[in-house]
Symmetry: C2
Subunit: 315 residues, 2 copies
DNA sequence: TATATTTGCGTAATTAGTTACGTAAAAAAC
DNA sequence: GTTTTTTACGTAACTAATTACGCAAATATA
């Protein structure tokens, strides 16, 4: 079965963890080889302190651990006499940590181990074609900018948007056309007379007057609709109206696909300028209109009470 | 201070762990995004079982975990009804684990997540110059062949052998010449008369007769010695004898360096063939002689009781 | 100046794995 | 055919980190 033929990358976390384990498993033995009485997990703290005294949170920030982790490690190192703790005089909350004399001696003694381990890692790198060190650096950078979750979410959206088909209105979608619009209108406002007219009789009030309606299908179910209504106006050819997308299919860019399709439709009908009315309460919708290229314009008469913003798009 | 200027690589374990954490931190949210009721840590087990039924240790081997870890995960998955456990009929110790119907449904449902995550990882890889995936693969391979500890030990040896100097005998090393030899001889055997002669009077018994002595210094302390004794023999020019290295400096290739130097010395004296006597009890020594190129030969008369092996080297 | 918020840090609980160890079944050795 | 060794697997304890939480000191705000 081809079910798992691509599953490899899915386990990248597990795989990384195992490589980490393999590398750190040897760490204790390496310290033993040099007769350095230091636990491997202490090393980042030790390293930070060798460069200067720091507070608990200061160390944590530098080495990228949580502060409780540092707190514990410092306590352990203190037990072994490697570090000394001292309350900061100026800020009573701070715990200044520094290497003790014994710690400094160890820092001197560990030099050889440093250079040998560094050379060993570099020797391994030389045997390898691909630079693990630089690859880690890059991944750290990339994942700092955008998390793996975000990358995955993008892929999901992209894949799902491929399942969306935009098609012209057919009578079997009359019910969906009404329901999808009614859903959001009555959630935010109240259905008005002019709503019922257009939603109950799309053929008469929209199509026969030279308008158009598009339907978005997701897995062959109607989940979004949008209409172009012919306007009797010297400036505008059509009004973009009755756009509705089911909340069940959010995050699949259906509004965006529908909007783009209706603009294409308007162009093919020879339109030069589109108009729409909305309400600033509907932030995602307004956002979408901006993304589609619409711009805010000054007010004009409207049959809808709920409208407080008007927009236009030059094609 | 240049103390830590090369310390970066030393923390490769820590750094890898942190990248792992960053990647796995998102894992739970990714499962949530797809409404897959699976803990990320279950994934490798789930994956293995989707390919066929397995025993606990079978799963552990496949996914590279310890068996107690698998045992625990299977118990958790069993609680959730994702897998079923069943004693093997033929081998009562074995616990055959398989995906339940619910598990199989989930395996079907998770497909989309697989492909999205795979694509996300590949998208990140495309943004990076260095291929983390391949780099991990290479490191796994290289570390399987030779552990990090071994790599480090090699570096240590190499560095330390640079601290070794091989110099000609001087009277101030007379005491060391005797002590180093006495140390190992009396540990394994008993000092004999001929030992005392050569060790107490190296000038008379070795040097003045046309032989040579080399001393290995480690940090300017004499830690190893070796002699070439002129032989009155038609076949052999010199006997390699009185080789001793302090056990305190083991693992620094001092025997090897001393052996090579004494062979060079023999060549420069115009020797064509070297001879030596030893005892098979002294395995590291015999090994060293083989490495230096010596070959076993049939017996000849010897003043030493302790000898049971004789070797020669053609120069 | 009194109060609210932020910061530093310690303790406790949790997590995802490990090693250590014990038991029982199967296989090998005598 | 009995004894010893190996194998399968579960439980318990440990490890190296985390998050959650609470207290006290410092800082900001009204």
């Amino acid at each position: 079965m081809d079910f798992y033929n691509q599953t490899g990358k899915m386990a990248i976390g597990s795989r990384l963890r195992q490589l980490t384990d393999k590398i750190t498993a040897d760490a204790a033995d390496i310290y033993k080889l040099y007769q350095i009485d230091l636990q491997p997990k202490w090393f980042p703290v030790f390293y930070a302190l060798a460069q200067g005294n720091l507070t608990i949170t200061g160390i944590a920030r530098q080495i990228g651990h949580s502060h409780p982790s540092v707190s514990k490690i410092v306590a352990e190192m203190s037990d072994k006499g490697l570090v000394t703790e001292k309350k900061d005089k100026e800020d009573g909350r701070k715990n200044m940590v520094s290497l003790s004399r014994k710690g400094k001696v160890l820092a001197e003694k560990i030099k050889d181990q440093y250079s040998d381990v560094t050379n060993a890692v570099e020797a391994i790198s030389k045997e390898a074609q691909h630079d693990l060190w630089k690859a880690i650096e890059e991944w750290e950078f990339l994942l700092n900018r955008k998390s793996l979750l975000q990358y995955v979410a993008e892929q999901k959206k992209q894949r799902e948007s491929k399942k969306v088909r935009i098609i012209p209105f057919k009578p079997i979608y009359a019910e969906a056309f009404k329901k999808l619009n009614e859903e959001w209108i009555s959630a935010y406002f109240k259905m008005e007379d002019s709503d019922y007219k257009a939603l109950d009789h799309p053929k008469e009030y929209i199509l026969n007057k030279g308008g158009a309606i598009l339907v978005a299908l997701y897995e062959d179910e109607p989940v979004g609709v949008c209409a172009l209504i012919k306007m009797d106006d010297p400036e505008y050819d059509y009004e973009l109206a009755k756009m509705a997308v089911s909340p069940k299919v959010q995050g699949k860019s259906i509004g965006w696909l529908l909007g783009q399709a209706i603009i294409e439709k308007a162009k093919s009908l020879g339109a030069k300028k589109l108009y729409l009315e909305s309400n600033t309460m509907l932030k995602p919708a307004i956002n979408l209109y901006y993304k589609l290229g619409f711009k805010k314009v000054a007010g004009r008469a409207t049959p809808y009470e709920r409208c407080n913003i008007q927009m236009e798009l030059e094609l």
